[in-house]
């Protein structure tokens, strides 16, 4: 049984069909990658699934429940979280506070308890901080806890976003180019991290341009071009698909086949 089901999803921007009739599904613990050239509609698709855009057509079904057009904070309550291609960090908060903020659904309580700093409120904050520190250690940011988030490098911010999204304890995690701007070592670390998270049963939907990484960790690949799905299947099949090579892989094809072989 699939955990996340996308059916015929599409959106128009002022008469322009940005994405049309895209469908696929994710099983628990599965890593599905969405690839395609720039402007193919990958991020738009993510924005529809995560409730930031309201799709014009189609359905998003999470664990059997129709969640199409639910706002992001209600999707988060149902266990869907995401990161962003263009970083969305709480810049003026510390690294630790960013990760703690990800625990919002687990530590929110009465505003009066928060104003009066009642023991219950402080206990919730302490629990979130302990969990946040563990998550930051996991993404290699344990030492940066007290730094202002704005002072981190691009690669570190990418990992901070992942830690913040994991804080939600999601069932489905959408990662929009988690390795963009990272060096080879960082990419490998993110690669391991994603595989680990999937092993724990979290379904991962990934947009990524690093084809080596995509081919290595994906269970399933969906290819978009001009807002439409042109192919889907296992990595090996996708890397040999003539239409995919023409539309996207092109020059990368040799590289991909080498990685594949």
């Amino acid at each position: 049984m699939s955990l996340l089901q996308i059916e015929g999803l599409g959106i128009d921007f002022g008469g322009l069909r940005a994405v049309n009739d895209v469908g696929f599904s994710l099983k628990p613990g599965e890593i599905v990658s969405v690839i395609g050239p720039n402007g193919a509609g990958k991020t738009t698709l993510f924005n529809m699934i995560s409730g930031i855009y309201a799709p014009s057509r189609g359905r998003v079904v999470l664990d059997g429940e129709d969640v199409t057009r639910l706002p992001p904070h209600l999707l988060a309550r149902r266990g869907l979280s995401r990161t962003f291609q263009n970083l969305q960090i709480f810049q003026s908060m510390t690294v630790l506070e960013n990760a703690v903020a990800g625990h919002h659904l687990h530590d929110r309580g009465s505003v009066f308890a928060d104003l009066l700093a009642l023991p219950a409120s402080r206990r919730r904050t302490r629990a979130s901080e302990a969990s946040a520190r563990a998550l930051l250690d996991r993404v290699g940011l344990g030492r940066a806890c007290q730094q202002e988030a704005g002072s981190l490098s691009y690669g570190a911010l990418k990992r901070l976003e992942i830690a913040r999204a994991l804080a939600l304890k999601p069932r489905v995690l959408l990662l929009d180019e988690p390795a963009a701007g990272c060096n080879a070592v960082e990419t490998e670390e993110i690669d391991h991290l994603i595989a680990q998270v999937a092993d724990e049963g979290v379904s991962i939907l990934l947009v990524e341009h690093d084809m080596k990484m995509v081919m290595r960790i994906s269970n399933h690949i969906v290819v978009l071009d001009h807002g439409e799905k042109i192919a889907e299947g296992e990595p090996a099949a996708i890397s040999r698909n003539a239409r995919v090579i023409e539309a996207y892989l092109g020059a990368q094809a040799t590289e991909v086949q080498n990685a594949d072989g």
Partner: protein, 320 residues
């Protein structure tokens, strides 16, 4: 490094110490009066820190809530027979309800749209207070009854002059207000507010109900403004619609931004400076307003994050 856990304690200790020690140096009772005005303004500005500094939402109409708190103390004792202290609580409750009703539609707006809508609300309140002359005495204002607490203190042996009493009470309320605001900063609610300030879209994806939290910040800051208005009306024993006016709203936002909207202590400092500066600048006589405007412009140009954060940054920079 950002100073954090000790921040709250340090702020409260410094604030309480200043309030307690300053009177030693007061040459006349006039200074108690200035002090209590600083505390009353500081309280309203502390509320704005929660809205502006934590949540990043502007309001140019908060004097409207100051007016509601002030007129509650003038009207409720006369018409409902309430004790003035209960009238202040009623005013705070009424402000919270009005903030809830007004905040829901206008907090959907962003940036200057929100600024203009909140401005409209402030103007509305001051218009009602001016025009309902039968009830409020119109632009001429109306008297406010004696709080009566000072007489009560006298019977238990604490004999304070009028200005001393208001200095002490306003100072006490300010410390409590600062304590609540600082508690909020490091709590789940405070983090939600600061998160939506940083990135609304990211806040929503971690499960923060952005509209709900903006509304909470608006209501809390309205209650601060209302209590500040009640204290002002009760110590002046008289109130006019100017208290709810546009200029007062602008003054409050300016105090917050000048001192540093993100920090409670900074905002209180901003309130202190803008309350005392006009008195100090009277030495420039007709150029007083000119000097005030010039100082505000210079601070914003050279210390954009506000006085206190800018000074703190410079001190830290030197220490390292």
């Amino acid at each position: 490094m950002i100073m954090r856990p000790s921040n709250k304690v340090v702020t409260l200790v410094i604030l309480a110490a200043i309030i307690l020690i300053a009177p030693i140096f007061f040459p006349s009772s006039y200074y108690f009066r200035v002090g209590s005005l600083i505390f009353v303004n500081g309280l309203a500005v502390t509320g704005l820190v929660i809205l502006l500094g934590y949540a990043g939402q502007i309001s140019l109409g908060h004097a409207g809530f100051v007016g509601i708190g002030a007129y509650a103390c003038a009207l409720a004792p006369v018409h409902l027979g309430l004790h003035p202290a209960l009238a202040a609580i009623l005013g705070a409750f009424l402000s919270a309800v009005i903030a809830f009703l007004v905040g829901r539609p206008i907090l959907r707006l962003k940036g200057y749209y929100l600024a203009v809508a909140s401005l409209g609300f402030g103007i509305l309140v001051s218009m009602v207070l001016s025009n309902e002359a039968q009830l409020t005495g119109g632009p001429d204002g109306m008297p406010v009854p004696e709080l009566g607490l000072r007489a009560g203190l006298k019977t238990i042996g604490i004999d304070l002059s009028n200005t001393e009493f208001w200095y002490a009470l306003s100072g006490l309320v300010l410390v409590v207000g600062a304590w609540l605001a600082l508690n909020l900063y490091d709590s789940s609610t405070g983090r939600a507010l600061r998160a939506l300030h940083g990135s609304e879209v990211a806040a929503r994806t971690v499960g923060i109900d952005v509209a709900h939290y903006k509304l909470q910040a608006f209501i809390i800051s309205a209650v601060y403004a209302s209590v500040s208005g009640s204290l002002l009306a009760l110590q002046n024993k008289f109130v006019t619609p100017d208290i709810a006016g546009f200029l007062h709203s602008i003054e409050m936002v300016t105090m917050a931004v000048l001192g540093g909207a993100g920090s409670v202590f900074g905002a209180i400092l901003g309130g202190a400076i803008l309350t005392t500066l006009p008195q100090v600048l009277t030495v420039f006589q007709e150029y007083e307003q000119l000097m005030l405007g010039l100082i505000m412009m210079l601070v914003m140009i050279f210390m954009r994050e506000g006085l206190l954060p800018a000074i703190a940054r410079r001190l830290r920079g030197r220490g390292e």
